[in-house]
Amino acid sequence: MSEEEFEYAMREMAAGNADALKQVYLAYRTLIYTVCLKYLRQREQAEDVASEFFIKLFNSAGTFKANGHHKTWICTIAKNMCLDLMRKEGHVAASLDDTPDEDGQALEKADPASVGASSVEESTVNKLTIEEARKRLSDKEREVMDMKCSGLTFREIADITGMPQGTVSWHYNEAVKKLKRFIGYG
């Protein structure tokens, strides 16, 4: 969704047009859910917060002021909502590297060195689906890939995550390499 389209949708939402909200939802439901899941690590909570986000977006559309970076804006709002929830519930922000995946199960770490060094493992993961391959990415690689595939630029991902743009780009390239290898195209 372009800036103009988003601004138009917000104006429509401010006027009470729910169809505009639906358009925004369809465009960003994945992105917002991904952001929420990144922080909350629980699918249900992520879904709840993502829903709440769109409700509030609709209700406060009249106060929207275009700043030319609506993707960053909505991601920041979603992130703040997650942080607020974590604060209220006394959650401690966990390191991305030692947190379980969204299913609550320990995610096998995709150590680039070990993966790259083991041809046996490569052959084993050769038949992985993209879903399985995605789970084998490191948290940061998956985070970057999720946002990138949701339509964000490296610059926007860097702004949201706080990582340097070069790091974002590096994680993306690593993720793409792994995915290619995991699904048998590497």
Binding site: M13, A14, A15, G16, N17, A18, L21, K22, Y25, R29, T30, Y33, T34, R43, E47, D48, A50, S51, E52, F54, I55, K56, L57, F58, N59, S60, A61, G62, T63, K65, N67, W73, T76, I77, N80, M81, D84, T129, I130, E131, R134, M145, D146, K148, C149, S150, V176, L179, K180, I183, Y185
Partner: protein, 280 residues
């Protein structure tokens, strides 16, 4: 396979992994008072009021940015006061104690000045007492000397041109009667504190040869004592000679040569106040 294809596959996987939560949104908007299907601007306004009145500022990114800006601005606005605060702290920590110390010094100085005044007065009084006592002692000693009838002592005194006899114990006492006599004399020798280096008194060219000389009979011997500035001229020197024959005293009285005078003085510690030559 190129990156775009991977992204495409990944995106499909991601979307498949994301649940459809539109129903929750719909229910939430309805719960907030607005109908998604038939939303009117009035209802939306009510919903907005609810959001704003909830006090939740998370939804407002602009507000969050403004909050951050306010914090930064607050810090920035505090900068000019940092210097003032530092100056105030410095004032309290350094300047005030220094001022108080100075005030204390001045107070002590004033107290000392007062004490000095009192001490001076007291010293003057003591001086007078001492002088009076010295006069009494002199009379007593004269009486004692007369009773003793020691011709040798008299001879020695005469050779020294000195009639006076002094109590050995009172080196620091002033010799008032002599001092008065000296001040009444025709010669103006001046009076004041003895300068050890010049062996004289400021304003006077007279040299003080000897400050004090006395001969007393001690048992069957004669004790001759003279006090004068030592060679370093920084302190007094007391010389005592004990002889059996009064004639022997002559050799100890070389200082009297040519200036057989005994100066009237009072000794206070290291300072000697000279009043003038003793009168015959």
């Amino acid at each position: 396979m190129d990156d775009e294809r991977i992204e495409q596959l990944y995106m499909e996987s991601l979307k498949a992994d994301v649940p459809d939560y539109w129903s929750k949104i719909e229910a939430g908007i309805k719960a907030s008072g607005a109908s998604v299907d038939n939303a009117s601007s009035d209802e939306v306004t009510i919903a907005k009021a609810d959001v704003n009145s909830s006090g939740d500022n998370v939804i407002s990114f602009d507000a969050a940015k403004k909050d951050i800006g306010k914090k930064k601005a607050a810090k920035r606005n505090m900068r000019p006061y940092v210097g003032l605060i530092a100056a105030a702290v410095l004032m309290v920590v350094v300047v005030v104690p220094v001022f108080l110390a100075g005030f204390e010094d001045r107070r002590k100085s004033d107290e000392q000045s007062d004490n000095t005044g009192y001490s001076t007065t007291t010293a003057a009084m003591n001086m007078e007492d001492s002088i009076s006592a010295r006069g009494d002692n002199k009379e007593a000693m004269e009486t004692e000397a007369a009773v003793a009838e020691e011709p040798a002592a008299e001879a020695a005194m005469e050779s020294a041109g000195e009639e006076e006899m002094y109590d050995d114990a009172e080196y620091e006492a002033a010799e008032t009667t002599e001092a008065s006599a000296a001040l009444d004399g025709t010669r103006d020798y001046g009076q004041g504190e003895l300068d050890y280096k010049t062996n004289g008194i400021a304003g006077s060219t007279e040299k003080i040869v000897i400050l004090k000389a006395e001969v007393v009979l001690k048992g069957d011997k004669y004790l001759f004592t003279k006090i004068k500035p030592d060679d370093s001229k920084t302190k007094l020197k007391k010389e005592e000679y004990e002889v059996e024959n009064p004639e022997e005293l002559v050799k100890y009285m070389e200082d009297f040569d040519g200036a057989i005078e005994v100066w009237v003085c009072s000794i206070h510690g290291d300072k000697i106040y000279v009043y003038g030559p003793a009168e015959d």
